[in-house]
């Protein structure tokens, strides 16, 4: 179930954590370079520290690039959730039209007979079917939008967790630098944890991409129903009149 306030909280959590990722990365950068230049650090160890630091910074950049990509559509789940309700309203209107113009419920039924009445009744039959088709499309569109909004919420909650894990990895790396002696080990542990977080992020982006793709083709199928010849001859609203 989509929860707008939970969504806003998640967005806020991400927004406050992202600058932290970059801030910690700068600290690690500065501390690692300083450490590598200390007189008591042997050259091979210094090179190792710089290499580990550079790899970590690459991961930070990778994460930031992906964040930019996923943050671009951050407002979409809210919009989709709100739009789902509006599509339900459209469904309601279309359903009422379908019921009101059903030949069996129209007032003239039984009161008007003869050739003209028969011609009229035959001509108006498809009107109700067409309106019912609009209702079906609107209902399924609302479902797709709700699914995507819910998936979007789950996705961004997971993104917030990954960012938190990444920050934890940076803290491990920074602690390594601070300990001096354990710097390479700490940086390596931080790098490994950061790589895991980025890997999870890549998997998340792929998963939401697949899900959105599936819902998008579902909506394309609905678009097909809006031009389907059963309800809409020649892809248009059925014509009942000759005037």
């Amino acid at each position: 179930m989509f929860n707008p306030s939970q969504f806003h909280e998640t967005v806020q959590r991400i927004n406050t954590k992202v600058p932290d990722v970059q801030h910690k990365a700068s600290q690690i950068d500065i501390a690692s370079v300083k450490l590598a230049n200390e007189w008591f650090i042997p050259e091979p160890v210094a090179r190792l520290i710089i290499w580990l630091k550079d790899e970590l910074i690459k991961l930070v950049e990778e994460l930031m690039n992906m964040m930019t990509q996923v943050m671009e559509g951050i407002e979409a789940p809210i919009t989709m959730w709100e739009d789902a309700y509006k599509w339900e309203t459209v469904r309601g209107i279309a359903t009422s039209v379908a019921a009101d113009v059903n030949p069996s419920s129209l007032g003239s039924t039984g009161q008007w007979t003869g050739d003209a009445a028969t011609a009229y009744t035959n001509a108006i039959g498809p009107q109700s079917t067409a309106a019912a088709q609009l209702a079906t499309i609107a209902d399924s569109t609302a479902s797709s939008l709700r699914s995507c909004a819910e998936a979007g919420l789950a996705f961004y909650i997971a993104v917030a967790l990954v960012v938190a894990q990444f920050i934890a990895a940076e803290i491990t790396a920074a602690a390594g630098d601070a300990s001096v002696v354990a710097a390479p080990a700490g940086l390596a542990a931080g790098l490994a944890a950061a790589a895991t977080a980025v890997g999870v992020f890549v998997g998340l982006v792929a998963a939401i991409g697949t899900l959105i793709g599936t819902e998008a083709s579902q909506v394309s199928t609905l678009h097909g129903l809006a031009v389907d010849s059963t309800a809409f001859p020649s892809g248009r609203w059925p014509v009942a009149t000759n005037i």
Binding site: E72, A76, K86, Q111
Partner: protein
Amino acid sequence: MSGQGYTVTVDTLYKEAGTWNDEGYKLSTIKADVMPLRMGGVPAGIFEPLASSIDALVQSMADRASEGSDEMYRIAGALRMTANGYETHETATAQSFNTLHG
């Protein structure tokens, strides 16, 4: 033509024309309601594929609703024309007897 004759209450036809008018109006509100549901134009990022599909769907829904609205207004018009026809015919028929016996 079946030639089986007919029964009609002209008021019923006028009333029913009113129903079609109302329903035509409802379909026009569907058009107005769906148009703002386009998702394109704002950055949708990872949701972009859905946004494109939704926009195409919105257009078709708006088109069908608009055509449906027009058709229902036309049905209302056709019913009124039919009712007028019955009335004119009735008046003319009455007139021909009135002339004979007037």
